[in-house]
Symmetry: C2
Subunit: 282 residues, 2 copies
């Protein structure tokens, strides 16, 4: 479908997107852009990209430019890209926040060549080594502000995500950021905080290592996630994240109060209510 695609940020998401395009034979050549020479070389060695170029050179040569870098750096980089693209090129981002970016580019003369997307997939790992085949299959991909993108550019991007096995969800940027705070950002904060709790309280690390069953590992695994990626997400979405975080601390205090007062009946109610998550997850 494409001759050349530029991947700006050849890590977990950008790398997996490149592998997916290659696996589906949707691209002839993938150009990689990275601030770090070592990262770029790693991606090249792993076969994720075919050539390393500067941002300017890569953008010039590409039909599609896919931006998958921390959401704070995305703002100026997106401006640089939009400033230089031709009317036949398409730019897509994969960021976990959408409101700040959409606002930032709202008045750019080339706004319509940009499609704001958030493929809802990730792992706790980062860098080119974290990229995997078949990453996005079966997951949702949110597209924001569809009406601000050219119908033709939008159709191409939606077609690609569909071929990669994603189901498309339309949302305004504001709604996206609210929902993302609930279903993704808060999980990462609780996991980081749980790791810090255990590291603070449990001085015998051997005991954690020996005893940690599947439960612990699944609730704490997101604490391995990249601070460079997640810091900017929390900051850009801070009002929504704070809102959910306050609610979460309140919910934890209810458990605390039940234990302090030995209120067994209310404790059961709290857990039975939590069980309702089954109807959503199953």
């Amino acid at each position: 479908m494409f001759n050349t695609v530029a991947i700006v940020g050849v890590g977990l998401i950008g790398g997996s997107f490149s592998l997916a395009l290659k696996d589906q034979k949707l691209v002839k050549k993938v150009l990689g852009v990275s601030r770090s020479g070592a990262t770029a070389q790693k991606a090249l060695k792993l076969g994720i990209i075919d050539e390393v170029l500067s941002l300017e050179e890569a953008v010039k040569q590409s039909d599609l430019i896919y931006v998958a870098i921390p959401v704070d750096v995305t703002l100026p980089v997106m401006k640089t890209i939009l400033d230089m693209i031709r009317p036949d090129q398409i730019v897509v981002d994969a960021g976990s926040t959408k409101q700040a970016l959409c606002a930032y580019v709202a008045d750019h003369p080339n706004r319509s060549r940009f499609v704001a997307s958030h493929p809802m997939w990730g792992t706790e790992y980062s860098g080119p080594e974290a990229a995997v085949h078949n990453a996005f299959r079966g997951r949702s991909c949110v597209i924001c502000e569809r009406k601000k993108s050219d119908p033709e550019a939008l159709a191409v991007v939606e077609r690609i995500y569909s071929i990669l096995g994603m189901s498309l969800v339309n949302m305004e940027a504001e709604s996206h950021d609210i929902h993302a705070a609930y279903v993704s950002h808060i999980s990462h904060i609780t996991s980081f905080a749980l790791a810090n709790t255990v590291l603070e309280k449990e001085r015998e690390e051997d005991a954690i290592f020996e005893l940690a069953g599947g439960g612990f590992e699944s609730t704490v695994r997101l604490a391995k996630s990249s601070p460079a990626m997640w810091g900017p997400i929390f900051m850009q979405n801070r009002e929504n994240v704070l809102d959910v975080l306050n609610e979460h601390i309140m919910q934890l205090r209810k458990f605390k109060s039940c234990l302090e007062k030995e209120n067994y009946v209310y404790l059961q109610e709290l857990m039975e209510n939590a069980n309702k998550i089954r109807r959503i997850l199953e």
Copy 2:
């Protein structure tokens, strides 16, 4: 190895233990005991047990009695069992708390025929349908107060857990309960509370369903766990759980404060510290 084993509580743990014994050909006949007739019949139908009997009858006929019921009910049931066993029988429990039970039976004349164990395995599901083959393989099993059990009874129990693929860890009951609060109980509380947070804040359940990626599912899956099982665990271990819960709320408040004050540097430090959990989990 055994002619007959009684499983008291034919759910997730008891059921999986029975399947493991049968798979390893360690038992000729398994007797099931359950307060609920429906549960007992389900276990029978699933081939987890061979016969349903009353507690008294099952204990009478068995070489080994395996108790896997909620930790509050375990106390009186364990007394009933110890009151009636012969000197050649062995009783084992699989509870997630050990201090209350060990204290409760400390002075029982038949204490030495009891081995206090906690196989560190579980899922968020419960009942006989939740029992799986090969459940315990590769996990740790804590044995508490080894010196209070007859060496011969202890050797039999440790040999069985070893054959099932578990690595044995010795701990005093007090230490067990402290560590279990860190590596298991707190994960369940945060998961229950996270489910309640999302259910409270996110009124558009379709959005959760559509957007929830792997991260959300892994941090919230324990919220499906059985309140009947976990309530008594939290209550029996309430001092340790409260201690860890207070620390956890404090750690969450640090994240909250970083976001409120837009203190990006400290936020990065908190996440980098949490990343240290990698060296324990990997």
